[in-house]
């Protein structure tokens, strides 16, 4: 038995499941070992390998913030083998967790800045952890704008907590791709709405996550507004197996997304080889 085996998952139990959209579910889990759960510490943006034993492992961001430790939360879109197996699990079922992995957001460096989050679809998950962390440390950060879009109102995650975000002083700008019955917020793609909101780049950091095509136009839009590369952060996704910089598949040149990322600034990305 190895004392420190980074491949060994911690058994954990599913305490709650939330159906976010037709194919996204949020799982709230607690480590079986109470002491390990109590002592578990992580940074917003760090990820976990979730195991469904007999099916395999997959990587997800811990989207609950370290300031709220009743459970660890993961939002899972059913697209592959492990994610579909996760969707078949019930409250009370056991999974394995290897975490925390990756670098996470540097919350200290972000202190004192105004923030704009730009998220699309399931890409809101890694932004949520940082957003809630900032809500819980509201005095440390300036004004916070969240621009969040999805294809339709039913495709927006975390709808049930939007009011709480707004109560916390967040300027929440929601958008969907097309008109929908009863929808009173914006209609249009995220980059279009970003241009309309036009958040000042002064003393502000932009943090974005979403589908690659959205990121591409959001990046162009942010530059247009006046954001420099070092003011833009994103969190990358790659196929991962070990999560600890050994198995060799998530590299972009010399950088491994699992240990050097998943959070990168565009300053860093612009110096890396173009292989996203």
């Amino acid at each position: 038995m190895f004392v420190n085996n980074p491949y060994r998952p911690e058994p954990a139990v599913i305490k709650d499941i939330i159906q976010e959209t037709t194919n996204i579910r949020t799982f709230r889990i607690v480590l079986n070992d109470e002491e390990k759960m109590r002592n578990f510490s992580f940074k917003p943006g760090q990820v976990a390998q979730l195991s469904v034993f007999g099916v395999g492992e997959s990587t997800f961001v811990i989207n609950s913030p370290p300031t709220r430790k009743d459970y660890l939360q993961f939002s899972v879109m059913a697209v592959g083998e492990v994610t579909q197996a996760l969707h078949k699990l019930d409250v009370g079922d056991e999974v394995g967790v290897r975490a925390p992995l990756g670098n996470g957001f540097d919350v200290e460096a972000l202190k004192g800045y105004n923030i704009v989050f730009v998220g699309g679809g399931i890409g809101m998950a890694p932004l949520r952890t940082l957003l809630l962390y900032m809500l819980d440390n509201r005095q440390d950060y300036g004004d916070i704008i969240v621009i969040y879009g999805a294809r339709s109102p039913e495709d927006l995650c975390y709808r049930y907590e939007f009011d709480k975000w707004r109560d916390g002083g967040i300027n929440l700008v929601l958008t969907v791709d097309a008109e929908a019955p009863g929808w009173k917020e914006n209609v249009g793609f995220v980059p279009t709405i970003l241009a309309e909101v036009e958040p000042s780049a002064h003393n502000r950091m932009a943090i974005t996550c979403g589908p690659p095509i959205m990121i591409k136009f959001v990046l162009a839009g942010l530059k247009e507004i006046g954001f420099e590369n070092h003011q833009i952060l994103t969190t990358l996704e790659k196929r991962m197996k070990c999560g600890i910089g050994i198995c060799g598949r998530c590299n972009i040149g010399t950088k491994y997304v699992c240990i050097d990322g998943p959070v990168f600034s565009y300053e860093e990305l612009s110096k890396m080889l173009p292989e996203l």
């Binding site: 034993f53 395999g56 994610t83 394995g96 690659p212 790659k238 196929r239 197996k241 910089g245 080889l273």
Partner: protein, 357 residues
């Protein structure tokens, strides 16, 4: 400290027999009568070592098995609830000491590349570490390079003793053995009788002769920047990878290729999490569940293989090339792709690039 020893050809089986009582002794041995394929296998009385040529496969699997169990899991029914079960996990057990007898300098160098990633990174790989620390190498000075060999071109050479514990030098009638490390020294009492002065002198001559050889003409160690300059030259990479059929054999025979996959195998309530060799030459290696693939064609995959070995790795690990120059990928490639040609062409302008389509 014992001096050099001598093992006569006909005494070698006895020596291996004795050694194998205390440890697992892996030798390069012929898989069939024709000696067509030479693999490292544990010594048995009916298995003779083949030391006059390079093995088909390197001894990589001795420390990094092609398939290994990372952990066992089993589901136990909840005593109070028939619809619930609990997971029980067990790690793999300890391993016995191992001697690899008859590896070549290139084979051992493969593990030095592994060590940087598996032992010296932010996370230590416990499965690799447990075997690595219990494995000794008795390495043969290499007199039998062929035209696919290029160990001197990647910063090593046919008499490179780095990473070895014992050194084997072929002389008239047998082998002279020399200890290189303390652990090797501890095995010297088992390594035959004391060598005669004449044998020691002959061994010194052989060692000096081989150490003076340059295997592989060009220098392939200074290509990090050339690779980066060439990275976005899709035409170059399309030409270089043109013949490649993405079979992956280059990665399987490679002593330095260390990438792996992790999968679960389960039956009923019990199963294993296993890791197995994987290949960056396969499409699925980087393909994500969404369907997005950062290396969607063989162009990007072949580029990554070259980049990893000759640019990314030396940039990360003090200039060390993640290639030991053993030449196995050249000998085994079904379409005769030659990695030396690709690396050498990095610095050439378009007109002079040698593409054998």
């Amino acid at each position: 400290m014992r001096g050099k020893t001598f093992i006569a050809h006909d005494e070698l089986p006895e020596v291996l027999e004795r050694l194998s009582k205390a440890m697992d002794v892996w030798i390069p041995t012929a898989i069939n009568d024709e000696k067509y394929e030479i693999q490292f296998l544990p010594y048995q009385s009916d298995r003779l070592p083949v030391l006059d040529r390079q093995s088909t496969m390197p001894p990589k699997k001795v420390i990094f098995p092609q398939v290994e169990t990372l952990l066992h899991f089993s589901r136990k029914k909840d005593e109070n609830n028939p619809f619930k079960s609990h997971i029980k996990l067990e790690d793999e057990e300890e391993v016995s000491p191992v001697l690899v007898f008859g590896a070549r300098p290139c084979d051992v160098r493969g593990f030095l590349v592994f060590d940087e990633v598996y032992l010296n990174g932010p996370y230590k790989d416990p499965y690799y570490a447990k075997r690595r620390k219990k494995t000794l190498f008795a390495t043969l000075v290499c007199e039998t390079s062929d035209n696919a060999c290029f160990c001197s071109a990647v910063g090593s050479g046919p008499a490179d003793q780095t990473g070895s514990d014992l050194w084997i030098i072929p002389v008239d009638g047998g082998y002279v053995i020399e200890a290189l490390t303390e652990r090797g020294e501890n095995l010297m009492p088992e390594m035959g009788k004391d060598a005669t002065e004449a044998q020691v002198a002959e061994a010194r001559d052989v060692q000096e002769k081989v150490a003076g050889l340059r295997v592989g003409e060009a220098d392939l160690t200074q290509n990090s920047d050339a690779f980066e300059d060439r990275f976005s030259d899709n035409e170059y990479w399309r030409d270089m990878a043109f013949k490649c059929i993405s079979c992956g054999i280059c990665t399987y025979v490679c002593p330095t290729c260390y990438c792996f996959n992790i999968t679960d195998e389960a039956k009923d309530l019990d199963g294993e999490r296993i890791r197995s060799w994987d290949s960056c030459m396969f499409n699925h290696f980087t393909r994500e569940a969404s369907g997005h693939n950062p290396r969607p064609s063989k162009l990007e995959r072949y580029r990554n293989r070259i980049g990893h070995k000759f640019s990314y790795f030396p940039k990360k690990y003090k200039g060390m090339i993640a290639c030991c120059g053993c030449g196995r990928c050249i000998r085994r490639c079904p379409v005769a792709l030659d990695i030396r040609n690709v690396v050498l062409s990095l610095k050439k302008n378009k007109e002079n690039v040698d593409v054998c389509k």
